[in-house]
């Protein structure tokens, strides 16, 4: 059970959140110019580190806003400062 620091509601139980996977995955700027291989990279390939991972969570049972945290995938240690300072709503 993880205690996840929502930047707006404070630390809450993991069950209140929805997981969004890797953070900062950018939509291709010029979709028409993207090769099949790059589309595959964008759609299907994400980092899968053993260690620190920058990821998205949504406070689904609370304020319903998205935010970013850095979490160690081995220890589940979450670095809330990063999350609070980088928190932003999803624009798309």
């Amino acid at each position: 059970m993880m205690l996840i620091p929502c930047p707006w509601c404070g630390p809450r139980n993991e069950i209140e959140f929805h997981y969004g996977g890797q953070a900062e995955v950018r939509y291709p700027v010029d979709p028409q110019a993207v090769s099949d291989e790059d589309w595959a990279r964008f759609l299907f390939f994400r980092d899968n580190p053993k260690g620190m991972f920058t990821e998205r969570w949504s406070h689904a049972a609370g304020c319903r806003r998205w935010f970013t945290v850095r979490r160690d995938t081995v220890t589940n240690e979450i670095h809330p400062d990063d999350g609070a300072s980088n928190a932003r709503t999803v624009t798309r």
């Binding site: 899968n48 053993k50 991972f53 990821e55 995938t73």
Partner: protein
């Protein structure tokens, strides 16, 4: 009288089923991962292709990873032709494996029920039964009364929130004893001269250009012309050292067993909607599993709310389980692909082969994987049964999308 040594009255330790040799400096092939898939691959490399100068490298102990953490269900009732082909090939091998290895695998074909709880699920299930039959896989559609006849302890009352509207039934499905499967393969491999090396972690690869020529390990470098990955949840950690990105995400998958109970559960029951799967082990433990925890993790543990949800479903379907005590829970690290099918085949690196992405369903495929992966490694080209499971499919878009029929909602 001299003081007694605790344990001195115990019998002598039996002979090991396999030796623990020192790693040699080179092999014809190196398999990374000493779990079910790695062992089966080495076995069929030796048996079908005559390659015996092999090392199976295991960073922990033999079959101590996901092989020791799974719920041992074996079935082949998959929807798509590609999946049915591979899993049915595996099931046919399972049916003769104990005799072939001359080792008791406790393979018990007690059948599997995949429950349907909604009209859409009924339609999908009937479609899957028809697809299975066209592929030579045994399958039947059962109404709730027929389900109750096979598994009387299942709650088939129409008053449930998600009532059992029927089930698919594969009579040839079942369970096996996972440790025995690993030990059976290991003993056979030892006799064929294959080196099983435990406590030997692969930390990197040696390469010349785009050709992999060896591995770096915690017990020194090993040169080889063929390196075959069979490292499940840790595959992307290894691939990262080569700069090879794979479309997999590692997640915790939890399972649990009850205390030993007298035999009450005659088959395997899986439910995709309320998501729990249950069988009763030979000794008597109820063995339960469900879906992965949502977040990426290598922690080999998950959250309690995942277990709680699974138990809620289990007790609703099997009211008598409410009186059973949980004895033990644990987690493995499973590698999940975007289309819920495995990846098995060649890589952009010559001499490097990949087998990963089995998600929550690697055990049932064990001998089939060994057979096909060994062919891929020996001939530098996929076996027809694993050709569709290539890494390229994520670029071509020819995905083997088994989300619907995998029986798990990961």
């Amino acid at each position: 009288m001299p003081p007694r040594t605790p344990g001195a009255e115990l019998p002598e330790h039996p002979d090991w089923l396999w030796h623990s040799p020192e790693p040699k400096s080179s092999y014809d092939a190196v398999i990374v991962g000493g779990g079910g898939h790695g062992l089966a691959t080495a076995y069929y490399l030796a048996k079908n292709h005559g390659i015996t100068n092999i090392a199976v490298l295991e960073r922990g102990w033999l079959a101590g990873g996901n092989m020791a953490r799974n719920t041992t269900i074996i079935r082949s009732n998959y929807l798509w032709d590609e999946s049915a082909g591979l899993y049915e090939h595996a099931l046919k091998l399972w049916e003769g494996l104990a005799d072939e290895l001359d080792y008791p695998l406790l393979f018990s074909q007690r059948g599997v029920l995949n429950l349907a709880h909604s009209l859409q699920e009924v339609r999908d299930s009937v479609r899957r039964v028809n697809a299975n039959r066209l592929n030579g896989v045994d399958a039947e559609w059962l109404d709730p009364d027929q389900v109750a006849e096979i598994c009387p302890i299942l709650n088939t009352s129409p008053d449930l929130r998600y009532p059992v509207l029927g089930a698919t039934w594969q009579p040839r499905a079942g369970i096996a004893k996972h440790d025995h499967v690993a030990w059976g393969f290991a003993r056979a491999l030892d006799r064929m001269g294959v080196d099983l090396i435990q406590g030997c972690e692969v930390t990197g690869f040696e390469r010349v250009g785009d050709r992999v020529v060896g591995v770096e390990t915690t017990r020194g470098p090993i040169r080889t012309g063929k390196v075959a990955l069979a490292a499940a949840g840790h595959t992307s950690v290894l691939a990262d050292t080569l700069g090879l990105r794979l479309p997999i995400q590692s997640h915790p998958l939890q399972a649990l067993v009850s205390e030993l109970l007298e035999p009450v559960h005659p088959t395997v029951v899986m439910s995709n909607s309320v998501h729990v799967y249950v069988s009763q082990a030979h000794k008597g433990e109820l063995v339960l599993g469900a879906g992965i925890d949502a977040h990426n993790s290598y922690s080999q543990r998950g959250a309690f709310h995942t277990i709680e949800r699974e138990m809620t479903a289990a007790v609703e379907l099997f009211p008598m389980f409410a009186r059973a005590h949980v004895l033990r829970t644990w987690g493995g690290v499973v590698d999940v692909t975007p289309d819920a099918s495995a990846i098995m085949g060649l890589t952009p690196f010559e001499g490097l082969y990949v087998n990963c992405g089995w998600g929550t369903g690697g055990f049932k495929s064990t001998p089939g994987v060994g057979w096909c992966y060994a062919h891929t490694i020996a001939h530098d080209e996929p076996h027809p049964l694993n050709a569709a499971f290539s890494l390229e499919r994520f670029t071509t878009g020819a995905l083997v999308d088994e989300h619907g029929a995998a029986g798990v909602a990961h």
